[in-house]
Structure formats: C-alpha cells, structure tokens
C-alpha cells in the first residue's frame, strides 16, 4: 500500500518490513494463472503458502512456484492442516528448509496454525501456545493464528509470538469481524507499553468493508484468502480488498467522530429565513 498516500509507517513484523498491510493467501483459486494476477492486483508483498507432499506421479503438472516471482514476494509458510504441536513444528521446519532452498526471506518465519477440528477449524489454544514456545526456541519468528480471545492473545505474546493474528470469524466463513470488542481488547493487551507490536486480523473477512472494519479497529494488517479466491470476480475483489485495506487504515489514522444519539446540523443555524419548529 501506498505508505505515501497514507503518510503512514510501513508494517513491521519482527525483522520483516512490508509495504502493504494486506497479506493474501494463495489457496483455492480456480487456477494458478488467476491466482498470480489476483496477487498482483491485491498489492500484497507478502503471501502465504502451504506445505504438502510432492506429487510424484504428475511431476510435469503445474507448480505453484511457476506462477510466483519469489524475488518479489516474501513467502509466509503456514502449518495449515496440523492438529497438534508436534506436526506443526515438523511442518514449520520443512517450510523453512524449502524457503532456504528458494533463498526467500520468509525462511525465518511461519504462520502457525494448530487446529482443533475440521468442522470449525478453530485454533487449539493450548497446542498453539506449546508450538509457539518450541518454534521460538528453534529460532522462528512465529505469527500465531488465534481466536479473538484476549487472554489467549496475551499468553501467545508471552510465549514469544512475533505477531498475534486473531480471527475475525472462522476460516473461509466470510462472516467478517464478529466480535470487534474482543479485537479491541486484544489490541489493548498486546500493545500495552508496546504500541508497535503487530496485530493482524487473520481469517473470516469476506468483503472490502469487512477489511475496512478490521483496519478501523486499529489492527496493523489483514490476512485473507478465500474472500478473493472464491469471489465471483477474484481480480475485481483483489482491487476492492486492496482499497478496503487502505481506506480502513486511513480512516483509523484520521480518527473517526464519536457516535452520538441525536443529530448535529452541518449547516449553520444563523441566517435562516425560515422558522424552526419548536
């Protein structure tokens, strides 16, 4: 994003500095070509990727890496699909090994997901804290997918998380930010005495207004995937999400007016040629 337009600082997460406050995923696109163009339109300079078994039979099939300029994007490998701390640590290490081979700067960080069940994809908070401690001890900068529970958010930060990423709503649900008050308390806890600590809303946003609402709460960034990938027109939605991120950020920085119960006239009371009702 246009830090110039916003007169805003860049987003710093650990040792990484990002120009865009929108981080986008690379999953669920109809095809990799559409994904590549959508990523470009989103303005993101950081993209998430998953680690899976190499297809040994279809070795000539399309590869994600053929559609991504790894010199341009900082890759953020995730541990999606892991349901316990052991598996998350394994997958994080494999992701680091791949990114080291690609010489991508994202080799030193991970988006940690330790899920509880396949229906809700809600994070397992206890296992997420355990995996965070182990990965931090192993030298990772850990960005934690979390629920919007402020107490868990604080525990993750204490465990050494580089960023806590509370979900707006369940992954891929498109329900937006369901509990803005919890996000506010997360922000208060996590940024207490540490205003630059990065907090990112990860998951659940389905439209540009959802992204703006998250940014207006004062979070530092938004991470999304399905909202663009499964939109009827992903390219147009990528534009919308980019603009929604920028406008939400600008609106937060500008400082909104307080909400009042009654009206306040925008035109002057003086000089009226008409009579006011009592």
């Amino acid at each position: 994003m246009s830090t110039e337009t916003c007169n805003d600082a860049a987003l710093t997460i650990g040792t990484h500095t990002l120009k865009s406050r929108l981080i986008v995923g690379t999953g669920k696109y109809a095809n990799y070509a559409l994904m590549g163009e959508s990523l470009e339109r989103s303005g993101a300079d950081c993209i998430t990727v998953a680690i899976r078994r190499e297809r040994l039979i279809d070795a000539d099939g399309n590869n994600l890496l053929d559609f991504i300029d790894t010199d341009r994007y900082t890759l953020l490998p995730n541990t999606a699909g892991c349901f316990n701390a052991d598996d998350a640590v394994r997958v994080a290490r494999l992701g680091r090994e791949i990114l080291l081979g690609l010489e991508n700067p994202g080799a030193d960080w991970v988006k940690l997901e330790v899920l509880s069940d396949t229906k809700t994809l809600l994070p397992d908070p206890v296992a997420t804290i355990e995996a965070t401690e182990r990965l931090v001890a192993d030298g990772f900068q850990v960005l934690c997918y979390s629920s919007d529970d402020p107490v868990i958010a604080r525990r993750l930060k204490e465990a050494g998380a580089t960023s806590v990423m509370p979900a707006g709503s369940p992954i891929g649900s498109g329900q937006g930010v369901l509990n803005p008050n919890n996000i506010r308390i997360c922000l208060e806890y996590l940024k207490d005495g540490d205003p630059d600590y990065p907090v990112i809303v990860d998951a659940g946003v389905g439209s540009a207004s959802d992204v703006s609402i998250a940014m207006e709460l004062g979070v530092d960034g938004v991470l999304l995937n399905t909202g663009i990938a499964h939109a009827a027109d992903p390219l147009r939605m990528a534009d919308a999400m980019r603009l929604g991120t920028e406008s939400g950020r600008l609106s937060y920085l500008a400082g909104r007016i307080p909400k009042k119960l009654y009206a306040t006239a925008s035109s002057p009371d003086e000089g009226l040629i008409t009579a006011k009702p009592r």
Binding site: E54, E97, G101
Partner: protein
C-alpha cells in the same frame, strides 16, 4: 529394497541415497524438503544420507494455501 515415499511403497536400489532418489524422480532439490523417519534431512546432506529398508520418506513442496 522397499521404502515408503509419501505414503507409497517404492523399490529403490540397496544403498541408494536421498539425493539419488530425488535425481531418479527428477525432482529439483531447491524447491522441496525431505523428512526421513520424521527427521528433516537438510539439503546439504541429501547425497550422504543413505536409505535403508523400510524407511519412511516424506518429500514436500509449496502449494497454494491461506
């Protein structure tokens, strides 16, 4: 000898290394990672790491994800 590669049985020459197997599969080691019996095998050790009967090998790469 028989080993498991990504959950499937595969016949490899006795004494073959991880590096030789990847060459045989025509896989570029720069864009993948290998785990042998749950232990990561760093790229630099692929050619010196010998496979043994019954080994469980995982060869992973990047795919689209959120």
């Amino acid at each position: 000898m028989q080993i498991q590669v990504n959950g499937e049985s595969r016949e490899v020459e006795a004494g073959a290394s991880v590096g030789q197997l990847l060459d045989q599969l025509r896989l570029d080691p720069r864009s993948l990672a290998v785990e042998l019996n749950l232990q990561l095998v760093p790229r630099a050790n692929h050619h010196e790491t010998q496979l043994a009967e019954g080994d469980q090998l995982e060869v992973v790469t990047l795919v689209g994800g959120g």
